[in-house]
Symmetry: C2
Subunit: 221 residues, 2 copies
DNA sequence: ATCGTCAATAATGTCGACAATCTAGCCACG
DNA sequence: CGTGGCTAGATTGTCGACATTATTGACGAT
């Protein structure tokens, strides 16, 4: 884990991704500035970055809002992520070092632990580190930057994909498959495993979207 | 073509992409502000966006520079582009409309014309429109946005690849192959054709980088 | 001659004030 | 009762001033 950043951008980003601001909520500069204890100037800069990143929409003279990620866009993002991470997994398999493999092994053990204890939040965090380790091993800054910039975190929060019963168990198996391919330096296998994993994620997302629609139809408002 | 924007961001972006500022050149806020006739505030905002976009590097308390794209990064960019555009070509094949197909046909005709007349610049421009038509047909804004961002970085070195003898002719053949697959609504074929096309581009880029190094070794300075 | 210190300079970061712009609510009018 | 315009308030956009931070070059000690 990198150091905790204290600048407005990272603070605000964290706040949005973790759901402290709701989709479509207005972000009034003065209010936000007071909330995270920084000047309005810094908030403005942060908003520009977040707009470029797609987490916020910025309309001239009309302020900023937390960007609502549509169902369609969520699916698109996961699709792109699959393409990018597939490529990254392939490269990682070709050049991964023993040390990183060991770290991945530890992450998987910890994941297994979280699954047994039903700790969804902890699992989700480990999931992120697992993928980050692969990015490191892939040694492909450009693709890693793009993949990191995707708003998959926000999606997971918005749609609560981790809540699908039994998802964690199957996700664990998929991660183990990826690990196996990486350990064997099997490029094709790694890309394949990663793609099927993300295809499953996409499927889960479709399910989450569907159930969300169903429930909101029964409980309008 | 969209309307000509006059805000600092687009002006500065255009200036950088069109090579009016050289790689690694320092972008002093005051100087830039005067150059493009806007306030320093606007320049600051523009720099933040361009930094997020990857066209500029922004170091705290040390100002902004035009981002230098290393040989390695140039290759990485093409690699990612191949992954994204491959996906886009696949989707395009599945849903392309007759009208767009006709437009693509016209573009190809025009390309053939440019090749015969040895008009490299014109060909390059048509190349861009060809790909953009495919993005439109793919109807995948997220991927298109990412690919577009990469493209703007790529422009700065792409001109080198057009210089390889006989490249344009072969490029034309590759584009025809892509068109054929799209016309047949052959998803696999389209992705495959696009990937081989971009693999060729990557190979040409390697060649360009290599010859560049050789010549600079014989003619130092 | 080399290194380190320090002042001078240039550039960035931040703040407050004010102007430009949008929004909500009120009121007159049909 | 609905519609349209208008004013008051809230919010964003821009500017200039100043504080903070890097960089450069001169100078002196070793």
């Amino acid at each position: 884990m990198t150091v905790k950043r204290r600048d407005a951008y990272h603070l605000l980003r964290e706040a949005i991704v973790s759901g402290q601001f709701h989709p479509n909520e207005r972000l009034v500069e003065a209010a936000v500035a007071e909330r995270i204890r920084v000047g309005r100037t810094a908030v403005r800069a942060a908003l520009v970055r977040l707009d470029q990143e797609g987490l916020v929409t910025l309309e001239k003279n009309r302020g900023a809002r937390v960007r609502h990620i549509s169902d369609r866009e969520a699916l698109e993002i996961e699709e792109v992520r699959a393409a990018l991470e597939g490529m990254l997994a392939r490269r990682a398999a070709e050049r991964i070092k023993l040390e990183v493999l060991r770290e991945l092994h530890q992450v998987i053990s910890a994941m297994r632990d979280r699954v047994e204890h039903g700790d969804a939040a902890g699992y989700s965090e480990l999931n992120a580190t697992f993928h980050q380790h692969i990015w490191t091993a892939a040694d492909h800054p450009t693709a890693a930057r793009l993949a990191g910039g995707l708003k998959s975190q926000a999606i997971r929060f918005q749609y609560q994909t981790a809540m699908r019963p039994g998802r964690a168990q199957r996700s664990l198996v998929e991660h183990e498959a990826i690990y196996g391919a990486l350990k064997a330096h099997d490029a094709d296998g790694a890309e394949e495993a990663m793609r099927t994993h993300l295809a499953e994620v996409l499927e889960t997302l479709r399910w989450a979207i569907d159930t969300q629609h169903r429930s909101s139809r029964w409980l309008p408002g």
